[in-house]
Symmetry: D2
Subunit: 346 residues, 4 copies
């Protein structure tokens, strides 16, 4: 059975496995205060020379989003998120569990824009203390729908955040895919635009781990207290450092993302040619197709993938490519897609 | 200046003031464990003979909603609310502050219906533990828009709650107005339909106070622990008992609500005759009109009221009648509405 | 039966009842933004001319402590309290419910001192981010044991708070009694020493209400958001303003406290003469005696009071005087104490 | 420099590394619902044949304790812990952050006993709803001081928990060391005594991971919701399964613990012979010595270890043995301890 279920279905790239083996008998300080973490931080910092960032390593994505928002928000403050945002949907209320409302805004292709942010903020100011105070903006890049923010969109969002004194947080669980999708910006730009953001390892070839990068000097102090309180500080913290050394030492991070994107884009093009409607045109490693029940049945017997949503009688399915996906697998999947179409009654 | 701003702009009905004076030199047990609270509970219980309810008195509405939901929900459970629900809008994230997500559903005239509840529940079950578990349904009756649930609507909501094993909670901040709006049900029915609900004193002629009524036996134990932890237990708790003795001893509760509704309905009819569009047709003591900027200006100089929303160039304003509103005041307001209309350029 | 159970067993002083009657038909803005609250704030402010304070009115003591600490602490920060502090014992974990640890320190006659604070702080700094960050100091004045801080003690506590950059919070539920106990300081000093503190109405002749006073300019913004979120904003907020107008317009606040203290001190002296051991020598309106089971039985049949603790076979009981306690009641209680002693077997 | 700082200073035992390599290219379901986790659960379950347990895998110890207590406690409920308990000291208020008070009791050699639990419970019942409700008991085994509960102690604690209807939770971060310290009980007994407990991998030869075992059927449902909400569900969850397969497939878990204990006990005996006072007599892999400043200086230049506490002029230091500690290292440390003693002025 072909595996296109997600980008966290296999272990890690060989570079990381090799590092784990080499480091296995080295004695380290605990809790992320070791040489490997320092080296990983320096590698990440080197990608954003224009901004001095603090880097911290956290084990998982939900824990990362939760720890960041817990850290930057005061009790009455809230975060604005598109309704498709991961924090708004698939984190079992992790943000609310820390006491904060997620103010949701209808998404536009998985994204927020500056006008939506301003309108939401202004609506809250009218009622003032009878409503939460929206203090942070959450965006994912790439988004949960595989789309990517343009430079212009991000500059406009940054501008409205400056105007309204809001923090901009980017969930970078798939930031590698975003950066390798053909955009005209880099981590160096992101560090300037965002107050705080994450660089995802889990979905980009590492065993686990997200790197939290803090650009805004006001948000730097005490982050480790919030990490520890939130259970986000790993005893053998150097394991997280190793993941990011493996990803950034020889730019495997970018190569993995480029590989994922390329295969997914081939797959998407092929599916379009075959006449499959797209639920959303993706620029990255997620592909969303609309299939009939018969097509679903045919594919499901041959491929492991996720059902994303139901559209009347049709079904939205999601294929994801990963560091370990091969061109051959994509080719096979293409054949199955063809066959599924052919079997359709006209 | 005429006062139509809200239904909590003046003190209390004379019966309650008299009780306060009489009780002022009686020594009582603290924290709601006194004879007055017992008497008030018995009076309330007498209105719902078919159900054995526990009654507790809380000082304010937000504290009531927050304490109820904190009591009935486990950490990963959430409450479904219409997007116009008080807990979803004007409580500064009080529910999220206790760790629970408010799952919002687009309202229909301020209300939820059974189909919306089922759809929301089913949507969450698809993703199961990656989403919060919707365990309670929150409705306001009368709603924040002045509308009232019908017997049929409530029976259907109760049925879907039974089917899906959900708690039904009714915010009764304006339950008096609902019951006096011509519906074919009483507190006795509400006690059967709801697992837990409140009877609002603040907006119905009392100085303050909401009576929390718990019908579901599973929800009765330990409520006072949650009250105390949540700051919702008044030292001189008998003051709350006195409010409800005043309201229920001679049915002042119903008389006040009937008075409020009658005046508001007269006002609403008059406004309609004058050609003011309604934002929402109200059955209770809230009246929502759409006015032009010129009308707004004219009225604002003469009447104290709230701006509810902006509609392109027009404005939605809200008039509220209260226990102390007089027919004369409503008449004067009618004159001002006429004058505002006449001044309009054609 | 004589009532010496607590200082919140009866309504309010006549001045406040009169104000309630007068104001009952005045139309006011809601949520504490009315003329009465403004007037009450100005009266309180006039007692502390050297400091510009923000004044807010909250309905009850637990809600006051909870709202203050929720407002001033960040998620990983904690408050240092004596183990007898109200927040540490009798608030059902209200502070922990907002996410903050109460770091308890063994009390010295109900009090903290500067050395304890420094030691606790230093102990936490050793482990740094593996422990909470103690950022606030909570003291009650008068304490839960009826004792009062001296000027010297408060100056030393202020100094250590300055040195370690800690907030000093005073729970003033019985601050009237403290100020009328013969100390050489006033509210004007307290406003200088504390970053934030409360002035208790409930236990000093009002129906309810605590005035939160914020001296530290950094802590002033956004307090009303936290109030609203925490359910601590009363719809008919002017009722709280009226309480404090009644207390401070003609210094009833101080007269009530002096009255309470005087009667309690007479009672304590008398009990000592009769040979009753004191559990704690009180300077205010709380009297703690150690009695035998036989004495307890005799007294319990004649007087309403609280059992405070058990000491092997003996019992610690608490008598409290209030605004409504009369010299005659104290005299009667003295007689019962005498009789209880006489009945003892030798 | 010799490393005796902690038992989480190196990677993992070779068995686990080998498993990681083998599994690196297998495609798995996410979030712990994979074959490896199932296999690991079955292995663990096989050690406790008399009780049907649910097994879940969590990444770190603080996250484990926090998730368990969040799951089993209602909002007003609290956990009783010795004052040396990890949740009471070194988790930055992680339990309070979820809203629950940790009720601390002075420890006896790092332990609680049945009498303390009963006394604490009874003290709370006196004040009832004005205090938190103690519903769970937290013990660590081995304790943070290296001591181990006896069968008799655990049976008595279980009995008092049955009597008072309390949950017993055991933090098993070092449960391997406890079981290999010569006690007459096994995991099978622990599963019967505890309602919920953890088996620590991190400090016993794994890269990371604690296995949460739920014995009490009432506590089994919905644990995964709380895990996800609390950020405790790893995307590549099978990595946790692999750790426990490695530990339990051929009983490496027990061998590692026996190895750690043996070396630590040799070290402790040697130190006693040399005249070093013990801070606490340990039965496991933690050794606590009291040293003079001169001894400290000498050792510190040669060995990496932790300073545990200060005792007047002396210092309590902690040595920890781990899966990778060798007999030679212990011998060298013994030599340094001798030399440090010899250098002492008489």
């Amino acid at each position: 059975m072909l595996f296109f279920r997600n980008d966290y279905g296999q272990g890690c790239i060989p570079e990381i496995l090799a590092l784990l083996e080499q480091a296995n008998q080295v004695s380290c300080n605990g809790y992320g205060q070791d040489d490997y973490c320092e080296q990983a931080s320096a590698l990440i910092q080197s990608k954003m020379p224009d901004t001095e960032v603090d880097v911290h390593f956290v084990m998982s994505g939900t824990l990362t989003n939760q720890t960041i928002l817990k850290h930057i928000l005061r009790s009455f403050e809230a975060v604005i998120s598109p309704d498709t945002g991961h924090i708004a949907t698939h984190e079992t209320g992790a943000i609310e569990a820390t006491g904060h409302k997620v103010v949701i805004v209808p998404n536009s292709a998985g994204k927020l824009n500056a006008a939506m942010i301003r309108k939401t903020y202004n609506g809250h100011m009218l009622q003032y203390e009878h409503m939460v105070y929206p203090k942070a903006v959450y965006i994912s890049n790439a988004t949960e729908l595989g789309t990517v923010y343009t430079r212009k969109e991000l500059e406009e969002i940054r501008a409205v955040c400056d105007e309204l004194d809001l923090y901009l947080m980017m969930d970078g669980a798939r930031i590698g895919s975003a950066l390798m999708s053909g955009v005209d910006y880099t981590l160096n730009d992101i560090a300037k635009w965002c107050d705080i953001f994450s660089i995802g390892g889990t979905k980009n070839g590492a065993l686990f781990g997200e790197a939290v990068c803090i650009s805004n000097p006001l948000l730097k102090p005490y982050f480790r207290f919030v990490m520890k309180q939130n259970g986000a500080m790993l005893a053998k913290g150097w394991l997280l450092g190793l993941q990011f050394i493996g990803l950034f030492q020889k730019d495997a991070f970018y190569k993995v993302a480029a590989h994922e994107n390329k295969l997914a884009q081939q797959l998407q093009s092929h599916a379009m040619e075959l006449g499959y409607p797209l639920f959303m045109k993706s620029d990255t490693n997620l592909v969303f197709l609309v299939v009939t029940p018969a097509e679903l049945e045919y594919l499901r017997a041959r491929v492991d993938f996720e059902i994303w949503d139901y559209w009347n009688d049709d079904i939205v399915i999601r294929f994801v490519t990963s560091f370990h996906t091969t061109p051959e697998e994509v080719e096979y999947l293409g054949v199955y897609l063809e066959e599924a179409k052919e079997k359709e009654p006209d």
